[in-house]
């Protein structure tokens, strides 16, 4: 296994040469230093102040209970008087309570983060473990050729429709009147559109009305339907199918158009010379 980087290396304790690296190092190490300082305060209840000037002459400081308070004491300014002492104690107690809560919160978030990181690992491992993707469409897009891309696109568009239909089923359960996608798809074969509760929505939108009419009209002709967009292949029309589906980039009259599915419904709509609109799933 080839290592990508050399890992942690011992570095010389002299000022860094590279300006950019220096800036980055400053940023990272300052953050780390503050973290250590915060931990010391939490764990041991010490008082601390850290003052750091950046390469760009900006100043960063961390202090517990706060920077000014500790600095003042160090410089012996404002020695605390007894009355202030009790006040300070109270506010300190309150402060500690707040900090305690914050620490707990932070611990929680960190744990969640660890869980997510583990999930990423698992997901990536799963991908690696399944032997070389047996399916060409799982390869990166850049490695596919044009015909593969087009086929993939067709398949994916189809899948999208099914997924959307499934999703709309849920949506419908919540909002039964909003019948954009047209009811339970299974029932529409028989011309009935209803939501899952079994209520028949007579307030059909135009598309569904068309579909209902079309279904009923052509119901008896399913097996023998010859339609302009359905290409006769060397294998002939496959009879006995209610849903005649081509999944390939069929060569249709319009070579410039990318493939679109010849769904059952479009066969009924002889006038529709356009690719199927999104959302008119048939499943």
């Amino acid at each position: 296994m080839v290592r990508k980087s050399k890992g942690r290396q011992k570095i010389e304790m002299v000022k860094m040469k590279n300006e950019n690296n220096l800036q980055v190092t400053f940023s990272k190490r300052r953050t780390g230093l503050f973290k250590k300082a915060s931990e010391l305060c939490t764990l041991c209840g010490a008082e601390i102040v850290v003052i750091v000037f950046s390469p760009g002459k900006k100043v960063f400081s961390f202090g517990h209970p706060n920077v000014d308070c500790v600095i003042d004491r160090f410089a012996n300014i404002n020695p605390p008087n007894p009355r202030q002492h009790t006040d300070m104690q109270l506010s300190e107690a309150r402060r500690n309570a707040i900090v305690r809560d914050l620490n707990n919160h932070l611990t929680q978030v960190t744990e969640e983060f660890e869980i997510e990181k583990k999930r990423t690992e698992d997901l990536k491992q799963k991908r690696k473990n399944s032997n070389m993707p047996e399916n060409w469409w799982e390869e990166p897009i850049e490695e596919l050729n044009l015909s593969q891309l087009t086929e993939f696109k067709c398949g994916l568009e189809k899948l999208r429709k099914t997924v959307t239909t499934e999703a709309s089923k849920n949506f419908q359960a919540i909002v039964p009147r909003h019948n954009f996608y047209g009811g339970s798809s299974n029932n529409s074969t028989f011309g009935i559109c209803d939501d899952h509760a079994g209520n028949i929505d007579t307030d059909l939108d135009l598309y569904n009305h068309q579909r209902m009419v079309a279904t009923n009209t052509f119901a008896c002709n399913l097996n023998n339907m010859m339609v302009p967009y359905h290409i006769t292949t060397p294998f002939g029309n496959i009879g006995n199918s209610n849903i005649i589906e081509g999944f390939t980039p069929e060569y249709n009259q319009n070579p410039n158009k990318l493939c679109f599915k010849q769904e059952h419904m479009s066969e009924c709509d002889h006038h529709s010379a356009h690719p199927l609109r999104f959302g008119h799933g048939y499943y």
Partner: protein, 216 residues
Amino acid sequence: MTRQKVKMAFIENESSRKATYKKRKSGILKKANELATLCGVPVGVIIDSAYDLSPEVWPSREEMDKVMSQWQRLPVMDRTKKMLNQQSYLQQRISKESETCKKLTKENKELQMKEVMFDCLSGKTSPSRIEKSDLRDCGNVIEQYLKNLNRRIEILSKNDGASSSYVHAAATTSVAMPIVEMGSSSTAFCDMIRQQQIQSSMNQNVRGLDLNQQQW
């Protein structure tokens, strides 16, 4: 490296606390030193506790005084801009880590949905079996993938030049394709491709047949 994770809370045990204090204090000073040396910047640290007779000042009183005067010289606003105490520091960390965590959750979801998408295509599962709450995310992932596909197709078609080459490609593949009856989309894609592979290997064995003709 199997260290025990330390709970971030006040250490109740007195002797533990004292020991920890000593170790961590020296650790902080070491880190402060590294920061100052590597980056060539002024650093000053004061640590005080019940365990010390007098506050620990680093690097030294003199150096600290220099830092202090530099500090005093700054206008109040500059001093306080990046000033932190426990409260503000912890809040900052919490929001940063929440952000990163949220991002990661989103990425993981997308990865997972991508797997679901591939499983649907290969017939291992179908959209009806997808968790209701995931349907929308799955749809989005499919959308995104399609966008990338389309972009790629555009690039390739442009490079290829005329659309005739596309037709040629499309024709070559579709000739080998039977139109198959499908009860559900989930089995379709992989079966289609498999059929095509069988077909094209069959066709390769047939000599004398011009597969590129559109007439049969």
